[in-house]
């Protein structure tokens, strides 16, 4: 078992700082929070517990794909985000538990949280509501994201502008 201990307050600080980077479009700094073997995934709606190895997801990124996503979002050619949307992330109900599958003897914890991400663009308001599940790992004394799942509660993306064009 990993030896990483994280208080709820520490986990909240980490999530709030992360949300601030994402809302501020400081995506390179956000990417630096991720490990080299990071996985970022968004299951299809109605499939919160699905596996990306066997079912259709909305997003299943490894580090390279995530870097490509960030590069794309920061370019002028991510048309769905040019001009950029403004987002506000409300994060609550944060819980910390020992990592279920601590990888290769590293120090990891699981953090779960509820999110409400509101996106404004073209005078429209789009909402994403759901549950984050993180595996956080201690790397060189710093807390890093090894796994990040954003599972949506909605039946469809029809309240979310029909897409997930931001980092959820």
């Amino acid at each position: 078992m990993g030896g990483l201990k994280l208080s709820r307050a520490e986990a909240e600080d980490f999530l709030y700082d992360e949300a601030d980077l994402l809302d501020g479009w400081d995506l390179e700094a956000w990417l630096a929070l991720c490990t080299d073997d990071v996985v970022y995934e968004v299951p299809a709606t109605g499939m919160a517990d699905g596996s990306p190895a066997t079912s259709l997801f909305l997003i299943h990124d490894d580090r390279f794909m995530l870097e490509s996503r960030v590069k794309r979002l920061l370019s002028r050619n991510a048309h769905a985000e040019n001009p950029r949307s403004r987002t506000r992330r409300l994060i609550t109900n944060v819980r910390v538990s020992p990592a279920e599958s601590a990888g290769s003897g590293t120090d990891e914890v699981t953090v779960a949280a509820s999110f409400h991400v509101i996106r404004f663009r073209d005078d429209a308001m789009h909402q994403y509501v759901g549950r984050y599940t993180y595996r956080l790992r201690q790397v060189d004394g710093q807390l890093r994201i090894a796994h990040r799942r954003a599972a949506l509660d909605a039946d469809s993306l029809r309240h979310s502008g029909g897409k997930v064009s931001i980092l959820l």
Partner: protein, 460 residues
């Protein structure tokens, strides 16, 4: 110049919807078709109520007792497999007083039960039980109160279609030249193809016909999807550096085909890998051999030329009016319906060979997500493009025409031409206006075909 006038009773129209003049390579679509509620009403009456519509795939109800519910052509339906193993489609409404008998999008059970008065139907549609049945007296006709089917239900290679038109032509005739392309998709498997768990459910604030055009549009790939192409080339370059191979420049090369009855396809070669069965970077070099073996099996089974098409070519297939089967780096099945002239609901699924080896299957799943779907690197920009078009159409009275003439002067229109969209629009125009379907097609030389719609009201 030949001019035809077709008058129908549902719409008033000062200008035609389509100007189609091969002699001057002119093809224009009136943007009113994208914004007018009267046009949508005519589409519902003349297209969605008249032709075949995709309901779902047999694999979604693989086991007896499985059911899914969804809305098709504006009607709530249930697709299920009864306990004898037969695939059934039902109107999702109780024959008693109308409430839905299935309120889950997906489930498994022996009965479809209306909770309102607890009438219960088996999956073969029979009215199985109802409370206090004896109160109805001796003449009560249970058989007449069985669940009701859409007027026509038929299946082609696992794809289940319905029609609300009892006199519709047989499904195989309707599919026309699209059959061969569905066959090519299905031949990826020696046994059967199946829809994987998970649905991408989204919406686009744009007219549904814009997604028809977009789904088979090769012209926009390099402009709209520059960030995807950048991702793909970076991935290929990294892999090429690792193996020391030369990197071929990206190109999409192929043809567009009018498949009859409004169906159309673009078929082309592309730089990306295909799980059945084309190795390309950045796939793991260890997969080279299994993919070559799979290709050899398919050549054995279908002949070399057919195997080449199954494995090497990608295809974006439109089945009129609103089904897309895009067989590219993975296979997506996408169906969409208008809600209002400026809003459509979209559903997309992933189709894959049953029993595909795990490593290839995972590649297929991840390939799908890099480009496709509302969280991919490409689809969000398509959504944005279509919504921008719809916003642009606000000035349709001042600028009524969209140009869809690209490639009309070409002997062999390619995938960046617009023949495939003209095939759709010609069929749409015939159905909406009730005009003679003869003499339509690039090079048909029929002169300008003009459909005028007039007079008012009521609709159907």
């Amino acid at each position: 110049m030949v001019r035809r006038r077709v008058l129908v009773n549902a719409l008033s129209m000062e200008q035609p919807f389509i100007v189609d003049d091969p002699s001057t390579n002119t093809f224009r679509v009136n943007r009113r078709a994208m914004v007018d509620p009267e046009v949508l009403a005519a589409e519902r009456a003349n297209i969605f109520d008249r032709t075949w519509l995709y309901l779902g795939h047999e694999s979604e109800v693989a086991q007896p007792g499985d059911y899914v519910s969804r809305t098709v052509g504006g009607r709530a339906l249930v697709l299920c497999r009864d306990l004898d193993g037969k695939v059934q489609a039902w109107l999702n409404t109780c024959t008693h007083r109308g409430a839905t008998v299935c309120r889950e999008t997906k489930g498994h059970g022996r009965f479809l039960t209306c909770f309102y008065h607890a009438w219960s139907f088996d999956l073969a549609g029979n009215l199985a039980t109802l409370p206090d049945a004896e109160a109805y007296g001796p003449g009560f006709d249970r058989a007449a109160l069985a669940l009701k089917r859409p007027p026509r239900v038929d299946t082609y290679r696992g794809f289940v279609f319905v029609s609300y038109n009892p006199a519709v032509i047989p499904l195989v005739d309707h599919l026309a030249g699209a059959r061969d392309y569905l066959d090519l998709v299905c031949e990826q498997s020696d046994t059967t193809m199946a829809i994987l768990p998970g649905t991408q459910e989204y919406s686009i604030e744009a007219n549904w016909k814009l997604l028809v055009e977009n789904s088979i549009d090769g012209y926009h790939a390099m402009s709209t999807h520059a960030t995807y192409m950048d991702y793909l080339m970076t991935a290929m370059r990294r892999a090429a550096e690792a193996t020391g191979e030369k990197l071929a420049p990206p190109s999409l090369d192929g043809r567009a085909h009018d498949l009859g009855n409004g169906h159309a396809v673009i078929e082309y070669t592309a730089p990306w890998a295909r799980p059945t069965a084309r190795w390309a970077a950045p796939l793991d070099p260890a997969l080279r051999e299994p993919l070559a073996a799979r290709r050899a099996e398919l050549a054995e089974r279908h002949g070399e030329e057919r195997a080449r098409r199954i494995c090497e070519t990608s295809r974006n297939l439109l089945i009129f009016p609103n089904l897309i089967v895009n067989d590219i780096m993975a296979v997506t099945v996408r169906a969409f319906e208008p809600v209002t002239p400026g809003l459509m609901h979209v559903r997309a699924w992933e189709l894959a060979p049953v029993g595909e080896p795990g490593a290839l299957h995972e590649v297929r799943l991840d390939n799908f997500l890099t480009f496709l779907g509302p969280g991919g690197l490409a689809t969000p920009d398509d959504v944005e493009a279509l919504e921008c078009c719809q916003r642009g159409f606000t000035s349709w009275r001042e600028l009524p025409w969209s140009d869809i003439s690209r490639g009309m002067a070409q002997e062999r229109p390619g995938i960046t031409d617009e023949l495939q969209m003209r095939a759709f629009w010609r069929r749409w125009n015939q159905m909406i206006g009730g005009s003679d379907p003869a003499a339509a097609g690039d090079g048909a030389g029929g002169g300008e075909t003009e459909v005028r719609l007039r007079a008012v009201g009521g609709g159907r």
